[in-house]
């Protein structure tokens, strides 16, 4: 997986976030402030512009520019959180010209740690951590057991799908949804949903490049 692969991933995220913009905003209306889809669409559109204008020869440089742009352009909580996730992943990948599945496992684990630390969040609080943690764990397990790319990415997104659905029954303890207390139960967390979309984009790009 080289820089082109990661640029394709980011482009896929931009397209999916734009297509799901209203859906994400709708989820955020229920328990937040109705701007999640709007902000992410604006942010990844800015990332696309930045990537088109810059020289990003390595996977790490693609993700670093993605993270910095999200921090600079998105605002809200999702800007710093996703921005930090991509920057941590970038640092984990270093300046390797191409990376393998185990590198990607480490990068996603670093992203997860970055989000947990900045947001002071743990699992079970109805946030993006509830998707990223089990998805990264499932992906890491599949890769360590020698799974080929399609099976490993399927493990990643299957875990994400289930985990995102599981946030419906959780009561929010972080972010704006926590103000609702028990009324936050019954709604999928918007950050969990957008994290799931990003992991799906990763799987889809991998499948496309393989096929």
């Amino acid at each position: 997986m080289d820089a082109d692969f990661f640029r394709a991933w980011i482009a896929e995220i931009a397209a999916v976030v734009e297509a799901q913009r209203d859906h994400l905003t709708q989820l955020d209306s229920a328990i937040g402030d109705a701007d999640h889809g709007i902000n992410l669409a604006r942010g990844f559109s800015a990332v696309q512009t930045a990537l088109a204008a810059a020289d990003t020869p390595t996977p790490g440089s693609v993700l670093l520019l993605t993270g910095s742009t999200l921090i600079s352009k998105v605002g809200g909580a999702s800007g710093p959180l996703y921005g930090t996730a991509f920057r941590r992943a970038a640092k984990s990948l270093g300046d390797k010209p191409a990376v393998e599945l185990p590198d990607l496992v480490e990068a996603l684990a670093a992203a997860l740690e970055g989000v947990k630390k900045l947001g002071a969040a743990t699992e079970g609080e109805k946030t993006m951590v509830d998707v990223l943690a089990p998805a990264v764990a499932a992906f890491g397990k599949a890769v360590s057991e020698g799974a080929a790319a399609p099976a490993a990415f399927a493990a990643l997104t299957d875990a994400a799908d289930a985990a995102s659905h599981d946030t419906i029954e959780m009561q929010a303890r972080k972010g704006r949804a926590s103000y609702l207390g028990p009324r936050s139960v019954g709604h999928e967390d918007p950050g969990a949903a957008s994290s799931t979309l990003m992991l799906h984009a990763l799987r889809d790009v991998a499948a496309r490049q393989a096929g």
Binding site: S29, A34, D35, N39, I71, G75, A77, R176, G181
Partner: protein, 330 residues
Amino acid sequence: MKKLINSPDTVVTDALAGIAAAHPSLAVDIENKVILRAGGPTAGKVGLVSGGGSGHEPLHGGFVGYGMLDAACAGEVFTSPVPDQMLFATKAVNGGGGVLHIVKNYTGDVLNFQMAAELADDEGIEVASVVVNDDVAVQDSLYTAGRRGVGATVFVEKIAGALAERGASLAQVAAVAAEVNERSRSFGVALTSCTVPAAGKPTFDLADQEIELGIGIHGEPGRTRAALQPANAIVGIVMDAINADVRVDGDLLVMVNGMGGTPLIELYGAFNEVSTYVTGHGGRIARNLVGNYITSLEMQGFSVTVCHLTSTLLDLWDAPVDTPGLRWGR
């Protein structure tokens, strides 16, 4: 959705351009979306920077000027500004006395200001932060992001601004800002939802005869829903919530704040009920504000903020202020 805008994409920058055109005392950097005092920083004075999502006007930009803020960063509607804007503002207002960041307690605002403070520190600018969290509707516990910052933000910006104008140190200005926050409590009520321009539809639905209690300032749903009641009953619920947290006795600074869509005639009616309640509980409203100071777009509704005054805080409140949103004594 009917809105007096050119397009949802330009609503914030169009308003900033209008603020620049209307107020020659301000310098507006449209590209960075930062409102500053014209004339640059005052040498040695602590600089005050606040900011947050747009849609709460006159907060924060309307409180930039003598005796209050030095700069305000405008985010997208209901979305925190980004660290780049905050760093730009911090550098622009630094007169050598350090800079105070006044941050409303929302996850996004706190994270972005935290990143900005680290960036400013890297550049050798001393930054202190006060996080405003006065909303009693939210349980302050391990199970929430903590109380939201609402009406007390106006009090903090005014009183800290007055002390900074007198040449106090960053530590002193930060301490008085924290003291005002600790002495203040708020509670808000929505009669209708509001519509974020880019979303195009109301953030939540309220039936005709329904109100939302414990609302924040972003159209985020509140604590509970209740049936519409006469103003005295609604104010009773609001004041009971505040009084249950800290008793409303002694000398008080009280704000009855409109959410943007409630006329003054109703806000004055509500203030009358607040006044009756406070008197009945042994308090005295020493100073007050009645009007739209921290709004939520076109939402109908109001909030009450109560601050327990000391003679020092009262003196700082009365000190001259000259901003588009608050002006007296000068």
